[in-house]
Amino acid sequence: MLTEPNALTKADVPHVIAGYDDGHTKRVRGTGIKQLNTEATAKRMAWVVQVNAVRDDKDRKAFAELFGYFAPRVKSFLMKSGASPDLAEECTQEVMATLWNKAHMFDPAKASVSTWIFTIARNRKIDILRKQRRPEPEDLTWGPEAEPDQADAIGLQQETAQLGQALATLPAEQRQLIERAYFGELSHSQIAAETGLPLGTIKSRIRLALDRLRHAMK
């Protein structure tokens, strides 16, 4: 359990991952991309440690590291979604400032840092690029949040690392369709018009890609 807010430090990560590996190798052994990728998971746990350092110590060095990795990718996402370079730059800085301001709301047992930053960037895209209000679901109501369990956090980070690998190993055509569905302001029918593929084919290919991702996560 993470009994102290700052219980997990950078020095703990390799040890924590190794400990998790020992207990779970049976589940993941010998299954191609399902194999436990210690390195990819360690990278994600390092992001978690950095977000926690921002939350607890207003640690500028940790923030600078997160900034260096994520800001160019957030900006890329916003530009591919139709923002001009200047607007994307401005929004990216706002997204990263939100990360600082909302670091206390991040829960590593529920999301990878990449997922969390993506949702912040997506929200900014709707606010600024699309100029729309953004209806948000109700929060869950089961009482005060417990400190995230460390094993849950590592498990979630590991699963997301697997998802990333699964996405990278999709056939190029399927990966591109998924990317365009997320990045572009393109509906499936617009993609159909652009690629010359019938709409039914696009939908079934996206479905196939998602099925593959799900299968890789099992």
């Binding site: 500028r60 923030f63 900034f67 800001a71 160019p72 990718r73 957030v74 900006k75 890329s76 996402f77 979604s81 370079p85 994307a88 800085q93 706002e94 990263m96 400032a97 939100t98 600082w100 301001n101 999301a111 990878s112 990449s114 997922t115 969390w116 930053i117 993506f118 949702t119 997506r122 929200n123 895209k125 709707i126 699309r130 729309q132 209000r133 209806p135 948000e136 679901p137 109700e138 929060d139 869950l140 109501t141 997301t160 998802l163 996405l167 990278a168 990966r175 998924i178 990317e179 569905a181 997320y182 990045f183 572009g184 302001e185 393109l186 499936h188 939908k203 996206i206 479905r207 998602l210």
Partner: protein, 220 residues
């Protein structure tokens, strides 16, 4: 909330969850999705997965150059307190209107300014971006909504009561996703008025002459 009232049978489709996760849906559809997710733990869990895919797609993107002073500018923004979190609007629990919908309507079922649209059915159009429209429908118990087809996609989420059409029965929390292939005549169940949240990205197409004329005036 509604979770423990009834088992939800009809859920959001994959493209809707993905579109909400990606931020590419019209506001009217986002409202239906967010409202359903407030009532449905299955779809809430599924949304988390689609958001995770989005995060990985973003990581995979070719990084682009950022301004040289971007980090310094961001730290200055943080110090100035711009973009500090603000508290959202006040939402009440155990309302027929889940939280996201409360942000769009002013009042409860009986205090809203419903407009009659014929056959005893009333509606209240909500204010969203113009790429799609969304309205509350109040269908008196036992009453039918005129037979209609769709040019685009229509989402109908039941908030209270239930309706039955050619497809199935839809109770509180259920969402029906209809496209141009579906012509249906929803009938509200006896017992209580059926309250629905309905969004469409194209005008509905009514099959009778009178509803078609009425449509020009009521803006369905």
């Amino acid at each position: 909330m509604m979770n423990d009232m009834k088992q939800i049978k009809h859920h959001l489709t994959e493209p809707l969850l993905m579109g909400y996760a990606a931020g590419t849906l019209p506001e009217a559809f986002n409202l239906v999705v967010a409202t359903h997710i407030s009532m449905c733990d299955d779809c809430r869990a599924a949304l988390v997965e689609y958001e995770a895919v989005g995060g990985e797609v973003m990581l995979d993107a070719e990084p682009v150059d950022i301004a040289e002073d971007a980090l310094a500018a961001t730290l200055a923004m943080i110090e100035a307190g711009t973009g500090a979190p603000t508290t959202g609007p006040v939402r009440t629990k155990n309302s027929v209107f889940p939280g996201p919908l409360q942000d769009y309507v002013n009042g409860d079922i009986d205090s809203l300014k419903w407009r009659k649209v014929g056959g005893g059915v009333s509606q209240l159009v909500l204010n969203t971006s113009k790429d799609a429209s969304v309205r509350l429908l109040r269908i008196p118990a036992g009453t039918a909504v005129p037979d209609h087809g769709h040019r685009g996609t229509e989402l109908t989420l039941v908030l209270q009561g239930a309706f039955t059409d050619e497809e199935d029965r839809f109770g509180a929390g259920d969402v029906e996703v209809a496209n141009e292939d579906l012509h249906h005549t929803p009938v509200a169940e006896d017992g209580m008025d059926c309250i629905c949240l309905a969004a469409t990205d194209a005008p509905l197409r009514f099959n009778g002459l009178v509803p078609r004329i009425a449509q020009r005036f009521i803006g369905i």
